[in-house]
């Protein structure tokens, strides 16, 4: 059962992996900062820190109460004799949560970092025009309601996890490291925010051109990718142990698949950009790297390394073309490429699990509340994954759009025209990220 204790080694490995996971957030923050213009770099980092802080506090106060952990108290709706577990009813403020190395306590710790990561994703899309106050408000709602609700369905014994037990669809919806609950949810929130904010001033000209607005620091972007890799090792391994019954030794396969998927995705992106533009593009290669990590999050514990390479390659290809498609054809101004990388990369990962996963022996959707069926082939797994994608698009996207639309009515998301011209650093923080670039008149006064 999921709530049974972990072995000493399992617990130690899990804690180590959970403590690695904040590096994924650090990596994303650096990537978002690097992909923006220098006049908004400090603002992005400040917003990232604020988002992580608010997400942690709000999740502690309310989020875990709605998300819960498998086997805990929950509201269940009965339809045609089947129980639909739709939301947890744990006490707020972590009351009654055993913080002693039990799986539920470890899951709560992991989730605090996961919700912060999900909330960081929209920052890349709203960069250079999304006010700090509105960012914090939007994050509070995401951490209190949107994330916990969907994460409960996937990881907390909710109805998606129980699709196998209730309707014979494989092992139920599976997601090892948060491709759906973190990345697609964050990516769809990014899409909603981008729609509401509109494009940056000057992004689309009247003659139909969309000039590229390059990021200001490729070093930050690429270093962010390396940090993110460590964070993903932690997220994927901890998820495999806590939610999919993986033994600590399974972390080897998980880490191997994670790096291989990222490597294949980034090289595919580099190759495609080299062929198309004559030189490999650093920002698209970095986006490919992250898309590979995102895709690996869903499948890393259930595929062999060669399949991880294929999954990563496809993720890299999807991202390279979709970033351009979103920018030029759909006129969605997404400076960080978050929609393509996280939403599309995540959806691909979820579907890839349905296509490629192998289950040897009794597996392991512990989130469903039982070590389920697993006949080895897990027929119907792909349908469970498809229903998960339909839920993200048909429920999470309209809900997150609606919430942010209402928030925007009361607290306008977009900064003033003057603020955008000036840059978010000076407008919202009163100081730039790189003050030494400003020439002060007193520097020339003879002393």
């Amino acid at each position: 059962m999921p709530t049974s204790g972990l072995s000493e080694i399992g617990m130690a490995t899990c804690i180590f992996m959970i403590l690695l996971s904040p590096l994924a957030g650090a990596g994303l923050a650096l990537i978002n900062a690097g992909l923006g213009r220098s006049r908004s770099a400090a603002h992005i980092m400040m917003a990232s820190l604020s988002v992580l802080a608010i997400a942690a506090l709000i999740y502690f106060a309310f989020g875990f109460g709605w998300e819960g952990f498998t086997g805990g108290p929950a509201h269940v709706l009965t339809l045609s004799g089947k129980g639909w577990n739709w939301i947890a009813s744990e006490p707020f403020f972590f009351r009654k949560l055993a913080l002693d190395g039990s799986p539920s306590g470890l899951a709560a710790l992991l989730q605090i970092f996961c919700v912060g990561l999900a909330a960081l994703i929209p920052l890349g899309s709203g960069a250079e025009r999304w006010s700090l106050r509105a960012t914090c408000l939007s994050t509070a709602i995401l951490a209190a309601w949107t994330y916990p609700l969907f994460a409960h369905w996937v990881w907390g014994g909710g109805w998606l996890a129980q699709l196998g037990v209730n309707y014979g669809l494989g092992n139920g919806f599976l997601d090892v490291g948060g491709a759906s609950s973190i990345h697609v949810l964050g990516g769809l929130t990014a899409l909603a925010v981008t729609w509401i904010l509109g494009p940056r001033r000057g992004k689309y000209s009247a003659d139909g051109m969309a000039p590229a607005i390059p990021g200001h620091n490729a070093v930050l972007i690429l270093f962010g990718c390396l940090l993110a890799l460590l964070g993903w090792f932690g997220l994927n391994s901890a998820g495999a142990i806590l939610f999919n019954g993986g033994q600590p030794s399974r972390s080897v396969l998980v880490a191997m698949n994670t790096i291989l998927s990222a490597a294949a995705a980034s090289l595919t992106a580099a190759f495609i950009t080299k062929v198309r533009f004559g030189k490999p593009d650093a920002s698209l290669t970095a986006n490919g790297w992250i898309a590979g990590l995102v895709a690996s999050s869903a499948v890393c514990a259930f595929v062999i390394p060669a399949e991880a390479v294929v999954i990563g390659s496809i993720a890299g290809m999807v991202v390279t073309f979709s970033i351009e498609f979103f920018e030029l054809r759909l006129e969605v101004d997404d400076p960080g490429g978050a929609i393509s990388v996280h939403a599309l990369g995540g959806i691909w990962g979820i579907l890839a699990l349905g296509m490629f996963a192998h289950f040897h022996g009794p597996v392991p959707n512990l989130a469903s509340g039982s070590v389920s069926l697993a006949d080895g082939s897990a027929s119907g797994q792909w349908l469970a994954q498809l229903i998960g994608v339909a839920t993200l698009l048909g429920f999470i996207l309209p809900m997150t759009y609606g919430i942010n639309w209402v928030l925007n009515r009361f607290y306008p998301f977009r900064v003033s025209v003057e603020g955008e011209r000036q840059g978010m650093d000076l407008h919202e923080l009163g100081a730039g990220a790189y003050p030494e670039f400003i020439t002060h008149s007193e520097d020339f006064i003879p002393r």
Binding site: Y204, S205, I387, L397
Partner: protein, 66 residues
């Protein structure tokens, strides 16, 4: 915001929700694997149509570019 855009956006979001409900209904009502899968695919197709509507409603009018 133009009224046409608002209507298209509203219809788009309604289609997204309708597609999801169709997929859920297939789970509850249909037992056989093939019709169930067909209805889930139909639900996803409706969602994609809804997405197209919403994206169209957000395309930027020429006079507003720049």
């Amino acid at each position: 915001m133009r009224l046409g855009d608002f209507a298209m956006r509203f219809v788009g979001f309604m289609l997204l929700v309708a597609g999801w409900l169709l997929a859920l209904a297939a789970l509850v009502i249909l037992g056989a694997p093939v019709p169930r899968a067909a209805f889930v695919f139909a639900g996803l197709a409706i969602e994609i149509l809804g997405l197209i509507f919403v994206f169209r409603s957000y395309s930027i009018p020429r006079e507003k570019k720049g």
